[in-house]
């Protein structure tokens, strides 16, 4: 298993644990009505599960197992794969900070951090697709 895949899979496992902990946290909402920002964790819970766990696991395994691009670059560009990893995760972490913070204090800073989070995650997805597309081919 290449180092990038190990990093993707281990990070995905961390997100799985965090997502399920988030799920527990979200269930506290009816008994913790004094904490309005708990509601902001519901979309985070879904996205930590679907992006942090499912999508990231797929990205790591696809990098490892998909058909070779060429003899010179069997797995495509290592730089693009790392870029996808950092962009996606930085975007997710920014969302974890900015989304509940915006519920607490409507500062422009949090709004712009959310936009930055959206942009980084989109770019991460684009890097993954750009690197994977040439490897999806008939034998």
């Amino acid at each position: 298993m290449p180092p990038i895949t190990r990093t993707y899979v281990k990070t995905a496992l961390v997100y799985l644990v965090l997502a399920l902990m988030g799920g527990v946290f979200v269930t506290l909402r009816p008994v913790a009505q004094l904490v309005p920002w708990i509601a902001a964790f519901t979309p985070l819970y879904f996205h930590f599960f679907m992006v942090g766990w499912v999508t990231q696991l797929i990205m790591g395994i696809a990098y490892w197992m998909f058909p070779r691009k060429s003899k010179q670059q069997p797995r495509g560009s290592e730089r693009l794969a790392w870029a996808a990893y950092w962009l996606l995760n930085l975007g997710l972490v920014l969302r974890l900070v900015a989304e509940p913070a915006l519920t607490l204090t409507p500062l422009a800073l949090w709004s712009w951090l959310l936009i930055l989070s959206a942009t980084l995650q989109w770019l991460g997805g684009a890097c993954f697709v750009a690197n994977t597309w040439p490897r999806v081919k008939e034998k």
Partner: protein, 134 residues
Amino acid sequence: MPRLSVWFVRASLIYLMVGFTLGALLLANKGVFLHPLVWRLLPAHIELLLMGWVVLLALGVAFWILPRWQTKRGNEKPAWAALLLINLGLWCVIAAAWLPGYDDLLWWGRSLEALGVAAFAFHAWPRVKPWVEG
């Protein structure tokens, strides 16, 4: 990778990018209000990423790596039908959120998706077997 898997996986990569684009718009809209219609993208965002990205990728990879008979993958027609039906269904479900007069569209979309995955299961069922045939 067989031709059908290439179709499944490439479609899933396209849906991933379209789904991520809608997701980015939805998230940005939480930060800075863009337009009231942006929230109506939510069903399409969910459909594109759950059915389009995750399910199509899983089926495409399953068609590629499940056990075969020598080099044969059995009856491929139901798997090709699955590709067509799931894609049609997905677009019906997405369109249903934007065409309020066409209430049947959501039903048709979900039915086509269900038929599609049933067709794939019909194809894949006999391939879920030990490597050495007894």
